[in-house]
Amino acid sequence: MSGAGSSWGLLAEYETPDALVRAAEAVRDAGYTRWDAHTPFPVHGLDDAMGIRPTRLPWLVLGAALTGTTGGLLMQWWMNAVNYPIIISGKPFNSIPADIPVTFELTVLLASLTAFIGMLVANGLPRFHHPLLASDAFRRVTTDGFFLAVEAGDPRFEAEATKRLLEGKGATRVVTVEA
């Protein structure tokens, strides 16, 4: 364990989602960059209050879907019409209509896996240790606690001033989280 001097940051708890949103607006306007809100469920309006820019995940998914479509068509054409042509019921070797079901399924498969895995990777998950998870106060975050955490690594972080900012917005308590 590191000493009391190495603080990871400050953790503030709020009573309601609305109070959290107002606090997030204040922290955003104060120009902080390394901070986050933690809630048991996605809270409406918090994205705007925090100034989060829309994720690029949909574009990644679109790319994966197009890869699935073209890859699926090319695979079936190459396998059944080029590499080992098989005559089935006198149909043409390259019969696009018959290739559509597999093409569709591969499109959906690649797009879905990209959405799921891309979401985890972009979020830095799985991650099996986080300083916040060591904090007892933080355990309510998955039940009914609404938290705002500011990292000590933030250029604007000053233990006292930041604490005052968080308390000024109605935090029920502000605790220091150890690194």
Partner: protein, 467 residues
């Protein structure tokens, strides 16, 4: 809006009054009490006695399933009652039955999500779990019916020693891709929904083993809003992808039949008819499981009478779609003027398998009609009974389609009848054992209600509740 003046009984939210927004969670629960209710099932030292009894029975049948499948693999498919021309019997009937059951989960989680049906949050988690387990049961049947299971990899487009590739013009191969994709996507969807709720169980866990096990499964979820942002977007995308997927899967399953030349199978109505039947059968299974679960585990405030009522309405609607398809099949067989088609349908209704046909019609078309009555839709015992009937009826539907068409096709000289052997009967019962074993384990170890999603639709404390 003045809501205080309207008396609102805490246990009944089935009012049809459009001026009153029906609460989705009853009895004044707040965030913490929802967590407590759902997590207490997972945290209880011992499960309820009903769970133990059910698990004992289910596990026994799972064991029997293992033995009969071993017997099948070591001896050959001759242990089944299949013959020429009836080369599909219980195996494919069970496959289509289980795949159909598996459709309700994704329908609830994806389609109802896109339509913003907020009541879905009470039931989506265990409907999705049910989907996963039903698809596992379904995938087993084509897996074992090929006989030589050790060459099953031939179905995948892998390079092999014969330098030959799968035939992509076969609907049976489409089926492999469709059901395989469906299973994978459903699993992602289900697990993704579980991550925040597993984190809840992790944060409440007392023992070291539980903390580590749920800690690993929760993937380090901290409820970060930057994470929620991508999570919600990914969830919406998955719902958008799963919606056409769920419609495609049973369509492709129906192609197994529709692309053949056999009378009674070669019909363009098959894809929508199969999809409606799948939703019908799937919702019946959700009701069959929801009615006892909410009573045994004290979840009547979260899975409310309104949830049951809504599902009954869906059952009634899809049941009538299925009934319509039965009628149209008859009409087209007459209207086509094709004697082989005409014969197949007369034979279904009045031939040697007429008992199966009329069981199907009674269970699927007649019994759901009770749900025109609001009293019937709020009687859990009646709902359970009808849901049971529908499951029986939907199994017989597939049996009738497969066996009557195969046993009497164009040439009377090639006709034959089909009777299942004890091995097939035990395999069917065993697949129910497997399904319920997995489902009961899920109830015991994972949160059966999507807590994070339920909380998101509850009115916020003190703040302005959205109206």
């Amino acid at each position: 809006m003045v809501t205080a003046a309207i008396p609102r009984p805490s246990r009944d939210n089935t009012s049809a009054d459009p001026e009153v927004r029906a609460p989705l969670v009853l009895s004044g629960n707040d965030y913490a009490s929802v967590t407590d209710k759902v997590c207490s099932i997972v945290e209880a030292k011992t499960p309820p006695d009903a769970w133990k009894l059910a698990f004992g029975i289910a596990a026994t049948f799972t064991g029997i399933l293992g033995l009969v499948v071993l017997y099948l693999i070591t001896t050959g498919v001759g242990v089944w009652g299949l013959n020429k021309p009836v080369s599909w019997g219980f195996d494919i009937t069970n496959f289509v039955f289980w795949v159909g059951i598996g459709h309700a989960g994704t329908l609830i989680s994806a389609i109802l999500y896109l339509f913003r049906q907020k009541w879905r949050t009470g039931i989506n988690r265990f409907a999705e779990a049910m989907t996963i387990f039903a698809v596992i049961c379904a995938l087993m049947f084509p897996g074992i019916h090929v006989g030589r299971i050790w060459v099953e990899y031939w179905i995948a487009p892998l390079p092999n020693q014969m330098s030959i590739w799968p035939n992509f013009r076969s609907p049976l191969l489409w089926d492999f891709f469709a059901v395989g994709t469906y299973f994978t996507v459903s699993l992602c969807f289900w697990y993704m929904g579980l991550i925040p709720d597993i984190a809840t169980v992790r944060d409440r866990a007392k023992g070291r083993v539980r903390q580590i096990a749920y800690g690993i499964a929760a993937l380090g979820w901290t409820g970060s809003n930057r994470h929620w942002h991508r999570y919600e977007r990914a969830y919406l995308i998955l719902a958008g992808l799963a919606t056409p997927l769920v419609l495609s899967v049973h369509s492709i399953v129906s192609f197994d039949f529709a692309t053949s030349m056999l009378p009674g199978w070669h019909a363009t109505i098959f894809p929508p008819y199969f999809v409606a039947g799948a939703i019908f059968g799937g919702f019946a299974m959700v009701l069959l499981l929801a009615v006892p679960c909410r009573a045994w585990f004290g979840l009547k405030d979260v899975i409310t009478p309104r949830h049951l009522e809504n599902m009954c309405k869906i059952l009634l609607a899809t049941g009538m779609m299925v009934g319509y398809a039965y009628a149209i099949e008859f009409f087209i067989s007459w209207y086509s003027g094709n004697p082989a088609e005409g014969f197949v349908f007369i034979n279904r209704a009045f031939g040697p398998y007429a008992w199966a046909y009329w069981t199907m019609v009674f269970c699927n078309v007649v019994t759901p009609q009770v749900f025109w009555s609001r009293r019937a839709r709020s009687n859990p015992w009646l709902i359970f009974g009808v849901a049971f009937c529908v499951n029986v009826g939907m199994w017989f539907e597939r049996f009738v389609i497969i066996v009557t068409s195969l046993s009497r096709d164009f040439l009377p000289s090639s006709w034959n009848s089909y009777t299942p052997t004890w091995v097939e009967v035990l395999t069917l019962m065993g697949s129910f054992g497997l399904f319920f074993t997995l489902f009961l384990l899920f109830l015991r170890f994972l949160p059966m209600v999507a807590m994070a999603e339920v909380k998101a639709i509850m009115p916020a404390p003190h703040g302005k509740a959205h109206r």
